[in-house]
């Protein structure tokens, strides 16, 4: 009966405590997140001297052909990196799951796979330099020694090769992540259904196609979500390795925006770009996050 008079019911002590803890913490975070948003919107409709100019910054940003180069570069990068990482990660997850039996060896592979994930991207960029750099890169040295090439390949100077070099660094660092997620997914496949399938004469492909894939499917979404969030923000190792060059071929979106703000000092256009990116990312987020298999209760 008392509960029926809800609405005006006094909050219990525990509930009051909950709000007393949540409100300041969430409030602080909310303010810290919101102020930049408001500011960037104001900045995006103002000129350098602070006068309002309407959507002029937006039309300048959208009319700049470099923006489309950056979007294209980001798209190409994602299209190289995501499928490769997922395919390689899946292959290795299946390979280890099916062929590596000793627990010790599995544990060792687990630790080795984690290794690249915690290496700072800047350090990975340094490794990339040591491998690909003209005149000192070790890749050319090795290729020449085994007689594969006879004159130096300019890995970072050729548009296609530079993109591949930059992508290879990402693949190097993040394939293990895909592997780890999918491998732990494979551990959840019930042994009985695998055995039943084997008795029915299912070959390994059928096993994968009809059993494993069923358990892995939600994880693919998860991988795409987290990898996409990272791939779209890639900056560090590209900045170190090519700085966006040659020309603008590896100038991904975040490198382009960095350049507009901190090299061309065009803060109006940079703010307009920031707003556009924030809006399109939140739309993208909405599209993907609905399908995510996260527990939400």
């Amino acid at each position: 009966m008392k509960a029926a008079r809800a609405g005006r019911r006094r909050l219990s002590r525990d509930e009051r405590l909950a709000y007393m803890l949540l409100l300041p913490a969430l409030g602080a975070v909310f303010v810290i997140v919101t102020i930049p948003f408001v500011l960037v919107i104001i900045q995006s409709i103002s000129a350098e001297d602070g006068t309002l100019v309407g959507f002029r910054n937006y039309s300048r940003a959208l009319a700049n052909p470099l923006l489309y180069d950056a979007i294209r570069a980001t798209g190409v990068y994602s299209l190289i990196v995501l499928p490769t990482e997922i395919l390689l990660g899946l292959t290795f997850a299946l390979l280890v799951h099916r062929t590596v039996r000793p627990q010790g060896l599995r544990a060792a592979i687990y630790v080795l796979a984690i290794l690249p994930l915690v290496v700072p991207p800047v350090a990975i960029g340094v490794v990339g330099r040591l491998v690909y750099a003209p005149s000192y890169g070790v890749l050319n040295v090795i290729l020449e020694r085994i007689g594969f090439v006879h004159h130096e390949v300019n890995w970072l100077g050729d548009p296609t090769l530079a993109m591949l070099a930059v992508a290879s660094v990402d693949i190097w660092q993040w394939t293990p992540f895909v592997y780890l997620v999918l491998f732990s997914g494979l551990q959840t496949v019930p042994r009985e259904s695998v055995e039943a399938a084997q008795i029915d004469g299912a070959d390994w492909w059928a096993q994968f196609r009809y059993i494993d894939l069923f358990y892995l499917r939600p994880l693919f979404l998860l991988i795409v979500f987290f990898r996409l969030a990272d791939v779209l923000r890639v900056f560090d190792h590209v900045f170190i390795l090519t700085g966006g060059g040659p020309g603008t071929t590896t100038q991904l979106l975040s490198l382009y925006m960095y350049r507009v703000e901190f090299k061309y000092f065009d803060s109006g256009q940079a703010a307009a770009l920031a707003v556009l990116v924030l809006v399109s990312f939140s739309i993208l987020y909405r599209l993907i996050s609905r399908a995510l298999p996260l527990e939400r209760t």
Partner: protein, 284 residues
């Protein structure tokens, strides 16, 4: 029949060994090369032929980076910034996750907080740093560690919230209730009962936040200018984009940058994947 089966198994094992071996070399060699280069002397750098194994290894590059270039200051900045970030993030994280896991809050509020935290994960840093840069200059905290600590805490909070939520949920409510019945107040029940039980999880979250903050480069590049607040990755970048690259110094700086995360990873290895996937993937 028997022979065919065992041959198939042999073939499969050979293929597996080949694939894993290739992957091992592709993963090991670049890191090996980084390490070898960092041990080279200046003289060996300019030798006409490149050696794949070090001749006369020396630690000269390390002392050159840390002492002569003064990068130990950047290392110190990194430690200060990362440690403060961990403290701020964990406190904020606990302030948010304690009520939503232990106290009666409406389920919708709880779900909304979690989803909102997840959405922060998708926030592109470059779009945030442009307005944040303006704020930092207005507040006159440009080139000060606090500017980095603030933005690092914000960007690591989603991880912390999801990880801490996972760990706190696993601790039975009854344990605290027992303490409360015995006359302890909420704070004591939290401090004496819940926190010690959650300590491994809180530590794990701390390690992960520390590692992420340690690796961060974009914010540090933009928000710092001098050794007053520059973090180590900014120093590494400085060595790379110089007109003439000193390869062994650059390699040494790379090795130094990855040492601490690797050591921490050994401690927190069971939680890394959980952290990266917001607790969806849990290692046993």
């Amino acid at each position: 029949m028997r022979g065919a089966v065992s041959r198939a198994i042999l073939l499969r094992t050979a293929l597996a060994v080949l694939a894993l071996g290739t992957a091992g070399v592709l993963y090991g060699f670049p890191l090996y090369w980084l390490f070898v280069t960092s041990l080279k002397s200046k003289a060996e750098l300019f030798a006409s032929s490149v050696h794949l194994v070090p001749h006369n290894p020396t630690l000269a590059a390390y002392s050159s980076v840390l002492i002569e270039r003064g990068f130990w200051v950047l290392l110190k900045n990194s430690v200060i910034v990362c440690f403060s970030t961990v403290v701020v993030t964990l406190v904020l994280g606990l302030l948010i996750t304690y009520p939503i896991t232990r106290l009666p809050v409406p389920p919708r509020l709880r779900v909304n907080i979690l989803i909102w935290a997840l959405s922060l994960r998708f926030l592109p840093p470059i779009a945030v740093v442009i307005p944040y840069f303006a704020i930092v200059r207005t507040l006159q905290i440009y080139d000060q560690p606090i500017a980095l600590i603030g933005i690092y805490s914000l960007f690591n909070l989603p991880f912390a919230i999801w990880m801490l939520k996972g760990f706190l949920e696993e601790i039975p409510l009854e344990l605290e209730d027992a303490a409360l019945v015995d006359g302890a107040n909420r704070w004591i029940a939290f401090w004496r009962v819940l926190l010690p039980l959650a300590a491994p999880g809180v530590m794990a979250a701390g390690i992960i936040v520390f590692t992420f903050a340690w690796s961060e480069f974009l914010f540090a590049l933009i928000l710092t200018a001098t050794p007053n607040s520059q973090t180590f990755p900014v120093g590494v970048q400085g060595l790379v984009t110089q007109f003439e690259i000193i390869w062994n110094d650059m390699a040494a700086s790379g090795v130094i940058a990855m040492t601490l995360p690797l050591v921490l990873m050994v401690i927190g290895r069971r939680y890394i994947v959980a952290g990266l996937t917001f607790g969806v993937i849990r290692e046993k």
